[in-house]
């Protein structure tokens, strides 16, 4: 049992999500093994982003359980889940445009330090020390994602490719065990896409489990250890890339989705 | 773009100039009198006629050669019915404009707010607001040293109404009042004095100063079957009350309005609904009705004629309070000059001053100087006032 928990960071059991009678996720079961990269693919409207929102606590599922490190988290609010060690990015970039690049990453460190209103207002030495520590680790992350020289810029002013990277950097700052990336390559050109894939690989190499929603099949096939295919909220296939690639159900779903 | 730049620069300059601009008011050898009224804002029905009246009166005094050959210089600030603004205005009049005396404010609340200022700076303040608390220090049981007021106290109006009710043998009454200072202080006087006249208040209703309809409150009153309703209000709502009263077929219950109803404008606005409404009024509202030998006949007729001619609007009671206040101060200036302590003493001992609202006899124990005689009960008859008995 304990080996199982070690093995599977995330486990969904019978997750159902309905919006006003419309079933978006239908009895979903799957597991994410520690230290792997798992991709979720499927045609538009398959429920991928909803699934992310359920895992990261934006919505509570209508039914079913979400286990993270062996503990149920489906009823926790989003910020509590962040404290558990899950971090995410968004499909449409949700950076804090009113802050600098560095501040965005520093905010990502929020879960790692306690911020007290009184302490920060009175500039107690401890809060100053914390601030310094956060700043250093944020700079380290910026170096890792290759945006170190832009730390002073406003997050708004970055081109889309760098915004996407920055969002990943912000998600990394909380030192998560599981990072959920919602279409990290969407809207990127080839070089940028390449950069993003190698970054994801590098993150994974450091031991972070990655859950990924992506449309770019090249990226998906390249970097994932395992792929989960969704259609109309249901799992239609799961397995290593080469298996999924040749699965007739998947091909049908995609062609059906197009037609 | 350039337009925008120019506009921004202009704005900045405007503010910079604003910082430096100041009124130059240094007529050598004039008597300065300060006035603070609620000319705009929620109590403009008080301050507006007051301001118009004192401006007219000052013009008249100056046209007649001023006071002791000196010009009467009136500095009027508008407090907008705001306590902070009022407080600042009075302090400014005292410390910067260096006036001899202050008249106003228009509102009871604001008058109470500036009493400490007048007392601290030892400057005579003649308030144009009604509450008896303005001239009655609850801690000492005496008037405040430097504070006077010209309007009749609410209690006088209440007593005039209660007396009239008692004579008619009525003791089951209902109150309807507006939730502003005027209504609240009238209401509390009505409740305070009810036992003295053996009045039984069966309903006590209220409405907001900007409400559109009082049918609900009057219907509730109707269900309690009082013999008379006393409405304590000011502004358009009292007209609405009158109309609702008639529409609801409640004319069997006599309607008494407060002295706040004291303008023919209200009779006209009620469009016939005010017929038979009782109300206590000061002499200046009924100048034409006064007998020729009435001591106030000439001052009130004069005022009425001049005011309506100059501003082309019906007279309201409130302008008269301003008239009384300024006249009192200018009489003081005439006899003692610009000496604050002497002005105070002069007013405190002034007897037989014939004002718009009565004959004032001040004394160290009475800084209002009026008696109940200052109110006469009138009834609306054929779109005009008529004296009751």
């Amino acid at each position: 049992m304990s080996a199982d928990i070690e093995e599977n960071v995330l486990e969904l059991q019978g997750v159902v999500m309905t919006f006003g009678g419309l079933m978006v996720l239908n009895n979903l079961n799957f597991k994410v093994r520690r230290g792997t990269i798992k991709a979720i693919i499927g045609p538009n409207g398959a429920g991928k982003t909803t699934l992310f929102n359920v895992i990261t606590g934006s919505f509570s599922p209508t039914e079913g359980t979400v286990m993270f490190k062996g503990r149920p988290i489906q009823d926790l609010k989003a910020h509590k889940i962040a404290y558990q060690g899950i971090s995410r990015t968004f499909q449409t970039v949700e950076l804090f445009g009113n802050m600098t690049v560095l501040e965005n990453v520093m905010l990502g460190c929020h879960t790692r330090v306690r911020t007290s209103f009184m302490a920060s207002g009175l500039v107690l030495p401890q809060s100053r020390r914390k601030e310094k520590r956060i700043r250093e680790s944020a700079l380290k992350i910026l170096k890792f994602i290759g945006l170190a020289d832009k730390f002073k810029d406003s997050a708004d002013s970055l081109p889309l490719g760098e915004q996407k990277l920055l969002e990943i950097g912000r998600a990394l700052a909380s030192e998560p065990e599981l990072i959920c990336l919602d279409e990290p390559a969407a809207g990127l050109n080839e070089t940028e896409t390449h950069l993003a894939s190698s970054l994801i690989k590098a993150i994974n190499a450091k031991g972070t489990t990655v859950l990924l929603v992506e449309h770019d099949m090249k990226v998906v096939m390249n970097i994932s250890d395992e792929i989960l295919v969704l259609n109309y909220g249901q799992k239609i296939a799961e397995g290593p890339p080469e298996d999924v690639r040749n699965n007739p159900g998947v091909i049908d779903a995609y062609l059906g989705g197009v037609a | 773009m350039t337009f925008r730049r120019i506009s921004i620069i202009t704005t900045i300059c405007f503010f910079a100039i604003g910082l430096l601009v100041s009124q130059v008011n240094a007529f050598e050898g004039s008597y300065k009198v300060g006035a603070v009224f609620s000319v705009t804002g929620r109590a403009s029905f008080l301050g507006d006629p007051e301001k118009k009246t004192v401006e007219m009166l000052a013009e008249k005094i100056n046209a007649a050669g001023g006071i002791n050959g000196k010009k009467l210089e009136l500095i009027i600030y508008d407090d907008e019915g705001d306590a902070t603004k009022c407080n600042l205005a009075v302090k400014k009049l005292i410390t910067r404009d260096k006036v001899c005396a202050v008249i106003g404010p228009s509102l009871s609340g604001l008058s109470l707010a500036v009493i400490p200022v007048a007392e601290k700076h030892k400057i005579p303040l003649v308030s144009c607001a009604a509450s008896y608390k303005i001239v009655y220090n609850e801690k000492t049981g005496k008037p405040y040293k430097y504070v006077f007021k010209t309007p009749q106290s609410d209690s006088m109006a209440v007593e005039a109404i209660y007396k009239h009710l008692k004579n008619k043998g009525i003791n089951k009454i209902a109150i309807i009042s507006v939730t502003s200072g005027f209504g609240a202080s009238g209401r509390s006087e009505l409740i305070r004095l009810a036992p003295k006249y053996n009045m039984n208040i069966v309903a006590d209703e209220k409405y907001g100063p900007k409400d559109t309809d009082m049918t609900a409150q009057l219907t509730k009153i109707k269900g309690k079957t009082p013999a008379a309703i006393i409405s304590w209000s000011i502004g358009p709502t009292q007209v609405t009350v009158t109309r609702n009263w008639r529409d609801l077929g409640m004319t069997g219950i006599s309607l008494y309005q407060s002295h706040g109803f004291g303008s023919r404008k209200n009779i006209k606005l009620a469009a016939g609904a005010a017929e038979g409404v009782f109300c206590p009024l000061g002499a200046c509202n009924i100048a034409e009705l006064l007998p020729a030998d009435h001591p106030q006949k000439s001052v009130t007729t004069d005022y009425l004629k001049n005011y309506t001619a100059k501003y082309n609007e019906p007279l309201s009671s409130f302008g008269g309070h301003g008239w009384d206040a300024l006249m009192l101060v200018s009489k003081a200036l005439e006899s003692v000059g610009c000496d604050k302590a002497a002005i105070r003493d002069y007013i405190e001992n002034k007897k037989g001053f014939v004002g718009q609202h009565g004959l004032f006899n001040f004394s160290p124990d009475d800084h209002n100087g009026l008696t109940q005689e200052a109110f006469q009960m009138v009834i609306v008859k054929g779109d005009d006032w008529a004296l009751v008995d």
Binding site: A82, M99, S120, S154, R170 | G18, R96, L112, T179
Partner: protein
């Protein structure tokens, strides 16, 4: 980007210290320190409100209620029960904090115009209570006889002494707020403003932070109310009505929402405009006031605190 330089704060503090002396030298502005007392009192409210609106992105149209709660608690407890004024001030802040937490918990879940209406309704309800509970509050005519402040035998009874007292509080509140803005808390607030989903995904407890700031702004409002009551020795409900809440909003917008200096600039400017400078327009005062407001809103979306940025922009080109 959000570093707030220390030098301007020092210059500002110095200016505040010498201002009464300057005013005393020029007869036409001799009474300005008196007006500045009120400007300072309003600054306390706008500092909190600016943090709430500009940084955390939450609107409040009921801030006058907290101002009133402070004023009435101080007023009633000192004038009617003879309690110690400083203790009442603290009680007022505690009550305002409790009320803010109580009202804020359900209200701050609302968004945009719904939040505006909820806070507006709260403000009007409190105003009606001030107006109606005549036995406690004196009703619409207000309550007088509120004693002045004194500390260890020193009476704050002159304009100057009260001026320094009020502005002392303003400086402390200002510096405290600047520290908050520049700390992790401020970062979290700005994150909430920019994107609530992203902020909560990063572990920011959005509703907790909103309530903390709402409570903080209420506490500052209440402190301002107590100072107001003890300075004027009088309070009445209409000081704390809806239009005052709107006036506070105007101060913030005019000064500039996204900069804490905007709170100070806006409060001082509106105070002087409405209590002093516009007086010369007499009957037109209201129209001029509205016109200035419209003019600034149209031309300077970042308020007056944004002007230096615009001017810098001209020179850069």
């Amino acid at each position: 980007m959000l570093r707030i330089a220390k030098l301007p704060i020092a210059v500002f503090a110095l200016f505040i210290i010498i201002f009464p002396w300057i005013a005393h030298q020029i007869p036409t502005i001799e009474h300005y320190p008196d007006i500045m007392v009120f400007a300072g009192i309003y600054c306390l409210i706008t500092i909190g409100l600016s943090l709430l609106m500009g940084y955390a992105g939450q609107i409040s149209l009921g801030q006058a209620a907290f101002f009133g709660i402070g004023a009435y608690i101080s007023g009633i407890l000192t004038a009617n029960y003879g309690m110690n004024a400083w203790a009442c001030m603290v009680i007022g802040m505690a009550v305002a904090a409790a009320v803010a937490a109580l009202v804020g918990t359900p209200s701050l879940k609302l968004k945009g115009h719904y939040l505006a209406m909820a806070t507006l309704a709260f403000g009007i309800i409190i105003f009606i209570i001030f107006n109606e509970e005549i036995e406690w509050t004196g009703g619409p005519d207000g309550m007088s006889g509120i004693p002045g402040l004194s500390l260890l035998g020193f009476e704050f009874d002159s304009v100057e002494s009260y001026y320094y007292l009020v502005w002392g509080f303003v400086l402390v509140a200002f510096i405290f707020t600047v520290n908050v803005i520049q700390s992790g808390t401020g970062r979290a607030l700005r994150a909430i403003h920019a994107s609530e989903p992203a902020a909560s995904a990063m572990g920011v407890d959005v509703s907790k932070f909103k309530i903390i700031i709402f409570v903080y702004s209420a506490v500052l409002g209440s402190l301002a109310g107590s100072l107001y009551a003890h300075y004027l020795n009088f309070i009445n409900p209409s000081t704390f009505d809806l239009f005052f809440s709107i006036k506070l909003l105007i101060m913030i917008a005019l000064g500039g929402m996204h900069n804490i200096w905007g709170a100070i600039i806006g409060a001082c400017l509106i105070t002087f405009l409405s209590y002093e400078w516009l007086h010369y327009f007499e009957e037109f005062e209201v129209i001029v006031y509205g016109a200035i407001l419209l003019f600034v809103t149209v031309l300077l979306p970042d308020g007056l605190a944004g002007v230096p940025g615009i001017v810098k922009g001209w020179f850069r080109r």
